[in-house]
Subunit: 200 residues, 3 copies
């Protein structure tokens, strides 16, 4: 699964950068920025591994998942004045990361023999729980609970993967289709400014 | 243990409804309301299972614990204007859930051979940690740390169960007695407006 | 390792006292004060054990780690008016606890065969995650992400232990040296009012 691993590392970088930038904006010191970068990048997959009982989690097995967010957060710390130009690029990388994280999480849960709903839930958590932890640590209401189509894209990606597996579509192909669904939905949501209904 | 299972499902419904209503009141979108409903209903038992190392947790083994909160949260989302009438009914259902969750948690911890204090702690967490997560996700100080007799009722329920087990009272009977203790205390606390002392 | 166990209990008492005092200052009731005392004292080690998959965690194996924080929190609740005199003493005890927690966490992770970075990370979490949970439960931005040299001292302690182990220095000796490094740095940071740079 080399392509998925590459996408996973791209996503890790994008999530770490967005977490570190959130730390810069919120006036944190260097340590706070490092923590937000790491938590955003690896928090979701770590919570998934805790719930599946696959411990120690992925980031303690393969330390590239620890080094990458640290290097990215340091880079953001020293160059953050130039970042506003790249924010829209970051949104696209973030979409790639989101799609990849969701299908990795859903696929892993299926291989741990959770039911279909549990697998979708694990996928959504892999994609979103890092950002939720970032917002909790910054003392803000998690963005995801008040924002345009973000979690919905994850749900659709997770459901797609479960269905493609039921239809016995080739493993790699299903992962790529489901991840693409999330990425396309996210990009459309950003461009068309979609949002979920609120209880009025 | 069919009666305990029934009470457990009633409690799950009540906790999910109160979580979803909190989401409505706090102006969240549909996804936020779903998350708060699920977290409130299954967060406590999930944290308990993580700490006991019984993974994947109960809600990934029996997906009714995932479907019920989702359906309840959707129901609340579409009918929330009519809920004020039912708030007092919800308080009673919540008390039933609390008592049931506490004794299930304490009993499970005892069967995992924790000590007596650890078992009471696991029972209290099963009953209360879902609500704590709900409040953290809504960026509020957990209600339980500032409110009338709620955790105290849980502690008394957990201690009762540990004592009844030490006295070798019949298993089912001890669970029902200890759960009833919590429920009665909660109902009294609501009606008599009891509260714990603060440090002045 | 009797000296390390003694230092560990001193640290548990100091962390419990600082957590309980935070609860008093934030106007919580008795239960809230108990929770903040316990969470501050045992939260870091518990999260470490969850991530290492060593479950149930240390505090459910040896209940002295549950009883001590409860007794300390009760003591603080009934005597908090006299505490301002002891705050500086508490800062020193807190430094002892921090150094001890960090080396215990790092050492334990190494014995679970995490890599060097993962081991340092587990040490830092053992020392700091309890305080982070205390602040999240009090709805504040974790102090550690905005404060003088605190986490940095932990990182230096963890890195020292990893290096001393690589150099095959005697086990007990490395633990004591690394713990002392954290304690000395903390005391200096308090007296000299050091802080980390912010992104300007």
């Amino acid at each position: 699964m080399n392509i998925l691993y590459t996408l996973d590392l791209i996503g890790t970088i994008a999530f770490a950068a967005s977490g570190a930038l959130a730390g810069v904006r919120r006036g944190m010191d260097l340590f706070g920025i490092l923590v937000l970068g790491m938590v955003t990048a690896i928090g979701g997959g770590t919570i998934r591994d805790v719930l599946l009982g696959d411990l120690p989690p992925f980031c303690l097995h393969n330390e590239i998942y620890l080094w990458l967010p640290i290097l990215v957060a340091l880079f953001v710390f020293f160059t953050h004045r130039r970042w506003p130009k790249f924010e829209s690029l970051l949104l696209y990388l973030d979409a790639i990361g989101l799609g990849t994280f969701v299908v990795i999480g859903t696929g892993k849960a299926l291989s741990f023999e959770t039911g279909p709903l549990g697998a979708v839930l694990m996928g959504v958590m892999t994609g979103t729980a890092g950002g939720v932890l970032r917002d909790i640590l910054s003392n803000e209401i998690p963005l995801i609970m008040r924002r345009e189509i973000y979690a919905s894209a994850c749900i659709i990606g997770g459901v797609s993967l479960v269905l493609l597996r039921l239809l016995e579509v080739n493993n790699t192909l299903s992962l790529l289709i489901a991840a693409s669904a999330v990425i396309v939905l996210r990009v459309l949501a950003i461009h068309l400014n979609w949002s979920l209904p609120k209880a009025s």
